[in-house]
Symmetry: C3
Subunit: 172 residues, 3 copies
Amino acid sequence: MTDSMLAALPSALDLVDYFGIAVFAISGALLAAEKRQTLVTLIFFAVVTGVGGGTLRDLLIGAPVFWVRHNATLVICIAAAMLVWITSRRRFAGRALLWFDAAGLVAYATYGAAMALSFGVAPIPAFGMGVLTACAGGIIRDLLAGEPSILMRPELYVTAAALAAGCSSRFR
Amino acid sequence: MTDSMLAALPSALDLVDYFGIAVFAISGALLAAEKRQTLVTLIFFAVVTGVGGGTLRDLLIGAPVFWVRHNATLVICIAAAMLVWITSRRRFAGRALLWFDAAGLVAYATYGAAMALSFGVAPIPAFGMGVLTACAGGIIRDLLAGEPSILMRPELYVTAAALAAGCSSRFR
Amino acid sequence: MTDSMLAALPSALDLVDYFGIAVFAISGALLAAEKRQTLVTLIFFAVVTGVGGGTLRDLLIGAPVFWVRHNATLVICIAAAMLVWITSRRRFAGRALLWFDAAGLVAYATYGAAMALSFGVAPIPAFGMGVLTACAGGIIRDLLAGEPSILMRPELYVTAAALAAGCSSRFR
C-alpha cells in the first residue's frame, strides 16, 4: 500500500464506519419491528445494535467512545429506525436481516482491525478485536431481544468476520 | 434555573443517584428472591442491578467508575439485598418489582443525562446516555436471571426513560 | 506477608492469571464443542470466556485492558480451543466443565481482588471486583450460548468466588 493511499485511509475508513453503523442500526430496528415493538423501542434497538460493536472496540483499546462527542452517529441510528418504522408494513423479509448483518459485519471487522492496529494493538489482538466488535452488535441485539444468538445459528457468523478482519490486517 | 440552584445541583443529584442505586438494588434482589436463590446470589443481583447502569454511563463518558473508590455504594446494595432477604417471606408482590424499577429508571435517566452534559457530551448522545444507563440495570438483571427482557414487555420501559432524560436535558 | 514475598507476588499472580485464562478458555470451548459448533466458534467462545472477566476488571479499575498489547493471552485461548477441538471426540463429560469453571473461578477471584487493591480500590469494591470478574467469564459464556446462567443453578457459584476473593483480601 503506497503512502498516498495511507493518507486517504482515514476518511475511507470513516465511510466504512458510518456504513457499518447504518446497516447494523437497520438490522436492530428490523428485529424490534418484527417483534411488533413501539417506535421508541425500535430506536433503542437501532442505537444499541448500531453503536454496540464500536463502543466495545473503543473501550478495549482505550480510545474515547466514538459517538459521545458529536450528534451524527445517533442521528444516523434514529433515521435508520424511522426508515424501518415507515417501511416495515411492506414486509421486509427475515432474509433482509441476514443481509444487513452480513454487510455490517464486514464493514466493522475491516474498520475495527485497522483502527486497533493504528492504536498500537498487537497483531493477534487487533485481529481478534475486529472479529469481536463486528459480532458484538448482532450478539447484543439478539441477547436483548431474547432471540437465540446468531453465534449459534448455522450462518458462519464468526467465520465471516474473521475472514474480513484477516484480510484487513494483511493489507496494512 | 438560577446560579444558586446550579450550585446546589451536585448534592441534589447525588441524592438522586443514591436513591436510584438503592431502588435498583432492591429490584435486583427481589428478582433473585423470587427465584429462591441464596443470600449471596441476592447480594450479587443487588450489586449488578444497582451499579450496572451507572457503570455503563461512566465507561461511556470516560469518567472513573463511580463505585470503586469508596465503600458506600456497595454497602447500600448489600443492605438492600439484606432488607429483601429478611422481608421477602411477607411476600413482596411482583408489582413491587415494577414500581421499584420505575422509580430507579426516572432517577437514573435524570442523573445520567445531567452528568453526561456536564462532561461535555453532545446533546443527543447525552439524552441517549440517560436512556441507556437508566435501562441498563434492569436489562442486565433480566439477562442474568434468564427472564424475558423488560425491554420486550408492554410496560413502555424505554419510553419512560426517554421522557425523564428529555425533561432533565431541557431544564439544564 | 514479608517484603520478599511481596516482591515475588507479581509473577506468582501472573501465573495465577494465565492459569485462570486457560481454564476459562477451555470451559468456553467445551460448551461450544458440546453444542457442535465449528472450530472458529470454539475459538470465539474460548477467547470471550477466557478474557471476559479480566477485561471487565480492567475496565472497572481503569487499567489498560490486559490482552491488547501482547499476543500471548489470545494464543493461550486459541491453543485451549484447539486442544478441546482435537480431544472432544473422546467425550469430555459435562462434569469437566464444572471443574474447569471452579478452578478458573478461584484463580480469577484471587487475582482480581489482589489487583484491585493494588490499584487503590477501596476494600469492599475490591472484594466485589474479585467476585464479579471471577463470575463474568462463565456468565458471558452461558449468555452467549443461550444456556441457563450458572448463577441460577444450585452450584453456589457466587459463594465460591466470594470465599476466594475474601481469602485473597485478607492475606494482603
